[in-house]
């Protein structure tokens, strides 16, 4: 085997993850190739440093309240969804009546009504555009499962 092929097995050799056949091939190569032997030594040292990186223990109190914190977040999420649905319905209902009353009011000049109509149409186009852009961005987002 050439060095490039052997190198792809060096990590497995170091971590004792190779079967006996490949282990023997790597061992034989290492006896004659200084370059691969040097790389193996470097890897051993890097692995030694990495394995020193232990995880600090969290106090027990943090684990005892762990579920409660998650539960509260879940519950709040549901609360917000229900609240938002109610608010959207009310706002839409109010907006509908406001606009309907405005457009049938004969005391308001036709020019003002056209201007307000233009503003509303423009606003709808802007909202649709933003929503579409967000939707497109979400579909192509690398980490779409993650909320920022």
């Amino acid at each position: 085997m050439k060095c490039d092929e052997i190198k792809s097995y060096l990590a497995g050799y170091l971590d004792d993850e190779l079967n006996s056949e490949f282990r023997k091939i790597v061992e034989e190569h290492l006896q004659t190739c200084t370059e691969c032997a040097v790389e193996l030594e470097e890897m051993k040292k890097i692995r030694k440093v990495l394995r020193k990186m232990s995880t600090p223990k969290m106090p027990d109190a943090f684990w005892q309240t762990y579920w409660e914190k998650i539960y509260n977040k879940i519950e709040r999420g549901i609360g917000w969804i229900i609240f938002s649905i109610g608010a959207i319905i009310l706002l839409a209902f109010g907006a509908y009546h406001l606009i309907a009353d405005f457009f049938i009011d004969p005391s308001i000049s036709i020019l003002v009504r056209i201007a307000v109509c233009a503003i509303i149409i423009g606003l709808i186009i802007l909202i649709v555009s933003i929503v579409r852009e967000r939707f497109f961005a979400l579909r192509h987002e690398r980490y779409k499962e993650v909320e920022r």
């Binding site: 497995g12 971590d15 990495l50 394995r51």
Partner: protein
């Protein structure tokens, strides 16, 4: 945290109940995975409080996305993807300390000749070095070298061939050796 067929079946059962809105079943999943989630997040982030918060966010995320869960993929693999992505997002959104500042901190520690401080600084250098290698290589280092997982476990978790685990690990360690060489003259 070893993972066998029995664990997988318990996860599938609890998750099926949780998907139907059973919070007690979801709680059992949280209790089983909370420490593992924290440790994995810590291995990516290197800060205990942030890792703790991210692990909780990951569970909330799981709850919100239970309807998307694919039984075929299994829970652990899906949960790991969510957790890892939250860690990467956190990193992306957080300003890191400059490289120069880290180098200066290391030499200040070296001058003090205090072994403990020197080791702490070396670990900080390793975190900085981990930031510089590609994500797909970094996660293998995190799982194999920091979390002490076997290649087969990692391959199952990431749904990649075992040969890919081995080659990514080789390139990751090689890059880390190149980056850390100036700080590890005595060791490398």
């Amino acid at each position: 945290m070893g993972y066998n067929e029995r664990d997988r079946n318990i996860d599938l059962s609890d998750l099926s109940y949780a998907k139907d809105g059973d919070k007690e079943a979801f709680r059992r999943i949280v209790e089983r995975y909370k420490k593992w989630a924290y440790e994995v997040a810590y291995s990516f982030i290197g800060d205990s409080m942030t890792a703790y918060d991210i692990s909780q966010k990951a569970f909330v995320r799981v709850w919100k996305n239970l309807y998307k869960w694919d039984k075929k993929k299994g829970f652990r693999s899906w949960f790991y993807t969510i957790l890892r992505n939250l860690c990467y997002n956190y990193e992306r959104d957080t300003a890191h300390r400059g490289e120069q500042e880290l180098i200066e901190a290391f030499y200040t520690a070296a001058e003090s000749a205090d072994k403990e401080i020197l080791e702490t600084e070396m670990i900080r250098q390793v975190w900085a070095a981990l930031d510089k290698i590609p994500h797909e290589q970094r996660e293998i280092v995190v799982l194999v070298d920091i979390r002490n997982m076997k290649y087969q476990e990692v391959a199952d978790l990431l749904d990649i061939p075992i040969g890919t685990v081995m080659s990514r690990l080789y390139y990751a360690r090689k890059k880390l050796a190149d980056i850390l060489r100036p700080f590890m003259e005595g060791e490398l």
